[in-house]
Symmetry: C2
Subunit: 430 residues, 2 copies
């Protein structure tokens, strides 16, 4: 019965082929089997994850580059490389992306980096996390498949991104979060007027619940951005790679430090970089990808250090809640990429995360979420260990906003005084 539903939706998908631009099929990451574009996420042969396969516009890199550069200042400038319709920029959506790549000279000095150090600051997105990118692509797929409710399991950032995107797109939303998230994330998830459901459990419990719901009549007509729309959703993360290279002047960075939650973002950044090479938009030379986790949820880092191919699930316990996925679906692929590119996976403690948040704020005026503290902290640790090369061009990702994790940094006034010069003089700050 469920299989029949999927098959009929896949047929609809073929009819709507123009909705997906250059995308031509879904392809299994494990066995390579191809299926038509549809709201499916696992290979029926081997249960491997499906990803979007394209007919990319090869052969005219200069023309493609000009087309991108004359496009809008958001992710839709890369529409020729995404599973979205050609007119996507004119549809009602949040227009995320083309966030700042910040040349972080002050931070470089503090860390002893002599090459170029950049922070890709995705706190500039509409709901202030990179999730706006992936959701924007998923919304187009939801429209194409005729879904009327947009849903997700979320550690917080995704909930806000889905709520906001659904509101703009005129879709209903119903999102699921662990009951104990940060206040900022809870309010942001609820304020857009969709349904918000707290789940008594961890993110992994929420995720399992959503997988059940999707197979139940209750979930019919629902697009779960990170479940049945996951192949499309994931493609949104490629735009981070595109933007970094374009903002570097169509050049690959030598080293990237990327946070790991499910691991999807890191794998899609790698995919995006390889596409740019294949398209002739950047020179083909080596790059190294480094994954960053919080020690309190570091199953991928653990596996990397132990030389394992298998990621053993853990129960998360860290202030970096947006990375607190104990059973990361793309963990094995992250290990592959870190090893293949000569990178690594490392983790930092909660106090190191807080220190790194403050370091980035103090040096570059960027107030990062805990996830940004994780990448900056891991960058520092890998530099100290001699694993990252300080003489190269390095890009560190900040994927979220400090305003959503206020409790992590207990910052306040240096002093509180009466409004008088005498009181100020006594405070000794003049």
């Amino acid at each position: 019965m469920r299989r029949k539903g999927l098959a009929s939706m896949a047929v609809q998908a073929v009819e709507r082929a123009t909705s997906f631009g250059p995308a031509v099929a879904l392809s299994c990451r494990e066995c390579g089997e191809r299926v038509p574009l549809g709201p499916v996420f696992a290979c029926t042969s081997c249960f491997g994850p499906l990803e979007v396969a394209y007919e990319l516009p090869l052969g005219d890199p200069e023309g493609l580059r000009r087309r991108i550069e004359s496009g809008p200042a958001n992710i839709w400038r890369y529409a020729p490389l995404l599973p979205v319709p050609a007119d996507v920029a004119s549809r009602p959506n949040l227009r995320p992306g083309f966030t700042q790549l910040v040349r972080a000279d002050n931070l470089a000095r503090e860390l002893g980096v002599t090459g170029e150090l950049h922070v890709k600051d995705d706190s500039g997105n509409p709901t202030h996390s990179f999730k706006d990118r992936v959701v924007a692509v998923a919304v187009e797929a939801a429209r194409a498949f005729g879904f009327t409710t947009l849903s997700c399991s979320s550690t917080g950032n995704l909930a806000g991104a889905v709520g906001a995107a659904a509101a703009r797109a005129g879709l209903r939303s119903c999102v699921f979060i662990p009951h104990d998230l940060e206040a900022g994330k809870v309010v942001m998830a609820a304020v857009y007027g969709g349904d918000l459901v707290g789940i008594e459990g961890t993110y992994d419990d929420v995720n399992r619940f959503c997988s059940e719901l999707i197979g139940d009549p209750l979930g019919e007509g629902w697009g779960f951005v990170n479940v049945n729309l996951r192949p499309y959703y994931g493609e949104g993360s490629k735009t981070l790679a595109y933007e970094i290279c374009e903002q570097l002047g169509w050049r690959l960075p030598d080293q990237l430090v990327v946070p790991i939650a499910s691991g999807s973002q890191l794998t899609k950044i790698d995919k995006g970089l390889r596409e740019l090479i294949a398209l002739g938009l950047v020179e083909d030379r080596p790059y190294r990808i480094f994954g960053a986790q919080a020690e309190g949820c570091s199953p991928v880092s653990r596996a990397f250090k132990d030389g394992q191919d298998v990621v053993r699930p853990v129960k998360p316990d860290t202030i970096a809640k947006s990375l607190a996925i104990g059973n990361p679906a793309d963990g094995p692929y992250v290990l592959d990429i870190a090893r293949r590119t000569g990178g690594a996976v490392e983790d930092v403690t909660d106090p190191e995360i807080v220190d790194a948040i403050r370091l980035l704020a103090r040096t570059e005026g960027i107030f990062a979420e805990t996830a940004g503290g994780v990448t900056v902290g891991v960058t520092r640790k890998l530099l100290e260990a001699g694993v990252l090369d300080p003489s190269l061009t390095t890009v560190v990702l900040n994927t979220g906003d400090g305003l959503k994790t206020l409790d992590a940094v207990a910052a306040g006034p240096s002093v509180t005084i009466r409004p008088s010069l005498g009181a100020f003089r006594e405070a000794g700050l003049g």
Copy 2:
């Protein structure tokens, strides 16, 4: 003694003329007297406020337009119209601006607007308020005058903007806030590592204290962005006008709804629009500017309704703390502009502000600060009263971010359940 100090600094300013691009002098808004560019803010003849006077690049609108359009996607694309050096874009700063102008069709439908309705969403700035614009311009002036400490009095947003901008620019910062601000604003003001001083009193008390400090040896070498750098600082708000017109396709909107705190932003938006007309970048036709206040701090609205020219100070009591200036310096100029352009000044209650925040979030996926609730609420009120014309092109400003005023909207989960289909079914949300 103080006068002598100012004069010698004015001489330095002349020497540094190239630091200010097309700006040639400061000019008194009241009596028109001109003084050299310097860290001064009041006319020595009549005590009127000083503002920046330019030699603008008249005579080649097409060339100027092309130059702007090929500039960076931030306020520095308008460097030829600002008191900043020509190389400003390559200096370390936060690169604010060029935020989204959102075509708000969903909101238009709810409000019965048949023309174009747009929201200029300045929550997309680096510290998520329009203050990044004004501070970025003030930082360049601070550098030119050799100030080493950046300071301000603030209702919150400015504190974060100054802290972040100083960090990136490598300046010390020391900012002053009322002791009872929202948690998000306090943390954001403190996290960048500068000194943050809580003042026991209202914003107006903080402001008076800063005016004292600036005349005291304690404050020597300090650039107060909204006091002794105020003429430069204010110019940053012109970029809102430039961007709105450019994003409309080099076209004036018919109606603008702008929040009023000190009133400076509204007056500079008007200045920016008039400059674009003078430069030939937009067609010269009528526009109307509407000011928006919270009822709990509505001295300008009160004066407008009473037909007064004088604004009588009030003691603020509203959730819209970023607009809670009881003695707005530019109030009389706001009255002039509202009357000259055929606009109005209106206010809304705190519950209307909260309703408007939710309305904007639900319809457009934009989570505004209370100040955005004020402009959207006033827009609704003026439409219902037949004062705003629903058939015209209207732009409503959102100048801040909902994450900084979380307490205003008590939003949370619709329901919290165990992770089971049965529990979800019982919740009745399927």
